[in-house]
């Protein structure tokens, strides 16, 4: 309207209006630009943070990387007093504890997902689903503390002797230690941590399976289990794998709770009932009291290994989610 104002007619009100409209338009242009810039900067900051994290961790590890090279990954000696470091037993401990956590946790979590999406009456679902998610909200340090004082004595006094007596011929169920601190206890704590993650993702996956396909199977005479086995699980299998990988990522990276219950052992042992240690737990336990720069740098090197494994499992999970469609919605 400012542009159409006739300059011949010098109506002061009209001129003022035109001016203010002009000013507002300029302000709007600045405002739009500023908002866009700030939003863009925030997004770039997030990307920069991820890159910087990678850089800092590798940078901190560089003395140890140049000294030990890739041999660090297989060497199992860890003696800070003599300046000898190797991640072999820690990689082993991380793999074993996370593997058993997933072996126990994934079936339980998938069963919970099935229960919440297909079986539970809606009233029960509204109560149980938040409770399962609450399990993920309990801080790991408290879960670890509970593990030390409540779970570990039970595991050491009851569960481990029972498993040893019944299945002692399998080397993983060796004689229990005198304290409850063991790889097995750590696996149980990690199980408690991965279950809610996998359960909530798989619930979303199962809920998204089209109802009429399931009804079709039922109409053909399939029992409820056969519907699950023949329709629900096959159509969501890639999503379940992705969910399990996310759970695995959580288990691999958990430091505090594991540091509390695993007992900080330094040997590779077949028995689950012995003490062990993981990459993350070793960093948490020793970093505050690190003796030398090389000790610190070696702990950073453990961080590099952890970062690579963690990012890889996360990226693969994302990739599966995108590649095989069905999990895409539920994973974010």
């Amino acid at each position: 309207m400012g542009a159409t104002a006739n300059p011949q007619v010098l109506d002061p009100a009209r001129v003022a209006r035109a001016r203010s409209a002009h000013r507002r338009k300029r302000l709007d242009r600045i405002g739009d630009g500023a908002l866009y810039t700030v939003c863009l900067l925030a997004a770039l900051l997030a990307i920069a943070t991820i890159l910087l994290i990678g850089y800092q961790v590798v940078h901190g590890a560089s003395p140890a990387i140049s000294k030990y090279g890739l041999g660090f990954l297989t060497d199992s000696t860890w003696q800070p007093n003599f300046g000898e470091f190797g991640a072999g037993s820690l990689i082993f401990g991380t793999a074993v504890s996370s593997f058993f956590a997933l072996l126990l946790g994934a079936p339980i979590a998938i069963a919970i997902g099935l229960y919440l999406s297909l079986l539970a009456p809606s009233g029960v679902r509204g109560v149980v689903a938040p409770l399962v998610e609450m399990l993920a909200a309990i801080p790991s340090v408290i879960l670890g503390f509970w593990g030390v004082l409540v779970l570990a004595p039970f595991v050491q006094g009851t569960l481990e002797p029972f498993l040893h007596d019944s299945f002692g011929f399998v080397p993983i169920f060796g004689a229990p230690e005198t304290t409850g601190a063991s790889v097995f206890t750590a696996s149980l704590i990690l199980t408690i941590m991965v279950v809610p993650i996998i359960a909530s993702i798989s619930r979303d996956l199962f809920t998204a399976v089209p109802r009429d396909v399931q009804d079709g199977a039922s109409a053909l005479g399939a029992t409820r289990w056969e519907v699950v086995r023949g329709v629900v699980l096959p159509s969501t299998s890639s999503g379940i794998v992705a969910a399990s990988l996310l759970g695995l990522g959580r288990a691999l990276g958990e430091a505090i709770a594991v540091a509390q219950v695993i007992g900080a052992g330094s040997e590779i042992q077949a028995s689950l009932f012995k003490t062990g240690d993981t990459l993350a737990a070793r960093i948490a336990n020793q970093f505050p009291g690190a003796l030398t720069e090389m000790h610190k740098s070696s702990l950073f090197y453990l961080g590099v290994i952890l970062l690579v494994i963690g990012l890889a499992s996360n990226l693969i999970a994302q990739w599966i989610g995108r590649r095989f469609g069905d999990a895409g919605g539920a994973l974010r």
């Binding site: 997004a43 919440l116 309990i138 004082l149 959580r250 990276g253 505090i256 993350a280 948490a284 974010r332």
Partner: protein, 291 residues
Amino acid sequence: MSDAGFDPTAPLTPSGNLRRRRLFSRFAESGATAAAVLAVAVLGIVVFTVVSRGASALNLDFLIKGAPAGIGPELVGTAIIVGIATAIAMPIGVLIALFITEFAGSRATNVVRLTLDLMNGLPSIIIGLFIFGLLVNHRKPSGFAGSVALAIIEVPLIARGSQEVLMLVPPSLREAADALGVSRWRAVLGIVLPTALGGIVTATVLSVARAAGETAPLIFASFIFDPGEYSLNPFESLPNVPVRIFQLSEEANPTGFAEAWGLSFVLVSLILFASLGARALLARSKKRMAS
């Protein structure tokens, strides 16, 4: 279905193979139910232990005094660290969410989302190492370094939660603003953000609940440090709840355990109430926006 042929008077009950399939199905159903019961039971046991052992330690002196009688300094320290972290993370998280919903094309959206997912999946101990290398090494440990670490944990949670509610803002509102010739930034600040405010607050509260219990990054940023008295300067080391629990759990000391149970009780109840309340709020505001 025996060789007796079809018997129209036989009762309509499953037999043979069908009976076995039904039984197996029933068995699988009870297995799934048992799994859910197990998870709830574990939560119940953990919470019950924390409450029953922690509540006895609780009284006013315990909450406000310093060591060895109380946990006041730790509570204040955690409040300061998490407060600063949230003050950093909330604007950044909301701006990232706005970038995704308002400005980014599909490729930029993918990149930013992937970044957020990776940030979210990062082990918190790695964030601790990062903060040590960035802010603590060759300088001194501080509560502020801990805040930055917790902010990195909070940002993806806030961004994702906010993005979800921003997507739920009815398109008709934006269209109405466009039709009135309202510029983008006015529409965002005046219409979109206020509509989504409930969800943004919820996401922030949930992220605070998550950050308040994080221990690993604080070990690197603030070190294991507990003078037993109040300290308020965020540029020095601050005593805080999670690290104190960690420290006490590593020492075999019964009075220390009692204090740790008390700390756990306070922390768990704050976190559970915050997340339950936030979830209820989210469900309500989502319902309101959808209708």
